[in-house]
Symmetry: C2
Subunit: 367 residues, 2 copies
Amino acid sequence: MPKQFTEEEVIERIEDMRRRRPRFEDQHITMSHGAGGKASRQLVEGMIVPRLENPELAALGDAAVLSIDGAAPGQAAGRLAFTTDAFVVQPIRFPGGSIGELAVNGTVNDLAVSGARPLWLAAALILEEGLAADVLAAEIDAMAGAARNAGVTIVAGDTKVVQRGKADELYITTTGVGAVGAATAMAPGLVRPGDKVIVSGTIGDHGIAIMLARGELDIDADVRSDTQPLWPLVDATLHACGEALHCMRDATRGGVATVLNEIALATRLGVVIDEQRLPLRPEVVGAGEILGIDPLYVANEGKLVAFVAPEHADAAVEAMRALPAGASAEIIGEVRDEPEGRVLGRTTFGGHRMIDMLVGDPLPRIC
Amino acid sequence: MPKQFTEEEVIERIEDMRRRRPRFEDQHITMSHGAGGKASRQLVEGMIVPRLENPELAALGDAAVLSIDGAAPGQAAGRLAFTTDAFVVQPIRFPGGSIGELAVNGTVNDLAVSGARPLWLAAALILEEGLAADVLAAEIDAMAGAARNAGVTIVAGDTKVVQRGKADELYITTTGVGAVGAATAMAPGLVRPGDKVIVSGTIGDHGIAIMLARGELDIDADVRSDTQPLWPLVDATLHACGEALHCMRDATRGGVATVLNEIALATRLGVVIDEQRLPLRPEVVGAGEILGIDPLYVANEGKLVAFVAPEHADAAVEAMRALPAGASAEIIGEVRDEPEGRVLGRTTFGGHRMIDMLVGDPLPRIC
């Protein structure tokens, strides 16, 4: 149980931790750089993005949205979303899914939460020498099934093999292209004080399922990954809310806490959530307590966080709940003018706690 | 020196080796499956592609060409090329380039030889825990420089970290989107008997440079990778030849021999090359002889093979030679009605040899 702070103490405590551009000052890559938290942010924003400086990349969205108007004279017009993700999850099979299914859904969802209908995927495989052929075949089948289920086509691919001990069974990088609707506008910059924060369902399922599947702990809990495609949920919410849907993110590595922090940082607004309203499976809460992990920081693979104008928030929740993927959708909090750039949680005990970016890596190779 | 056969003997010898759909019957993945030759073809065409069945993927081109007309109502129209490649080259730095530069140029070139102007790249990094920060920074800089040089923007990315011993320094998957010009039509199916076969420059430089950089052999030869972007060369050739440019491929893994075999197989035509006309650096010939490797099978990273109607072949060579990347362009052979689906080389001794698909993997992790 973290120490409880008053709202003022929390603000004071993190006053000077914010608004600095993250600096990358490490000498070597550590597992923390892959965890989606502070170290990841330092690596990506402090070192990689400045070297590749361009506005699309610097936006750090789930997908780049590209205008192809005039790209080829007389040919192309419109907006495309474009996103890539490497999947290195271990174990490669786990309750509720496997790396192949995850690789399709993960990229499909980065397109979806950018407001883009997923169209095409490319898949690049890095295979470890000695991988059993039937293991590979099962993952290709999982990709094919997930693609059919999500309504996308895998149109390009590549396969490389590295020596035994230079990979871990297989890694899959999927890259997706989607079509952004003419009227769709979603971005952190559109989030306003008063917006309601909605999560589309129970949180932490994927990450806890992976931790349990590793078998390092003798916990017998029935927790399954929530890996699923989110476009139907996004599409329904867009129809229900139109422009009142200001921003969406899928809550993968780093969990819901990381998404909330990213939006607070980007907007310089405050996000206050009511922790009692977080949709949580009891098994996830129980396993999280034993593992010492807060589900707010745990990866999801089929859940999104939406920021919606208050007068449309109920309609958004209703639209989500009408679909299986959104059956447990809840309003969990709201956006405020302050604390600037910070996320606060109202705990079940009536106090406040700072919900900061993740430090370290409690869950390596979760996706 | 391979045994010399007459043309008839060669045809008889491989009569029943062809036209069968490749079958994947192995129990485990071996390095050969990553080499770009027969085993790769068995894996990709015999196992992966059938499971993901769709016409774009089954075309097995360097890039999928997608029509986005109507993808989003009122929005998108035109044709895009889309391609992905994982780079696992070792060592990551070598004379003439490094993995970061290769990852940009390799994907840019798959777009280019599909007749697409390269526009955007996505890059996904898999980093090994413990990688030195300055090594990573150097590769990000190499990517940024190569992107500038090729006129593309890296608009999306992802970074994952795996434990020490689960990768080899870093792997980079790049995925590219390009715009296909309205008038551009290139495909194996357009290749006709009589077409001239052109290579854009010296062959085998990249693969030999990598082999020498590994330092396993005590050969002191100044061979540098030819990694470079090919769009200017493609663009110039398209302008010079128009529709007479029937097909292009870049000759990466498996080298020029593999490209010729792919086209022969796809068209059921024969390709006959004059080995005396192959542009070869003396250092590459020398190193290849010591290594026991035929440069025809060695990867290039800045060379293309073009199939051009005979009346435009000289114009194509002239257009290529006007650019530094095509200074050594040569007509190396022609397409014939027969031998059906086969590649023959006229050797320097006046005989013929069968130039078959690569078997095994003489050059693992060359790109």
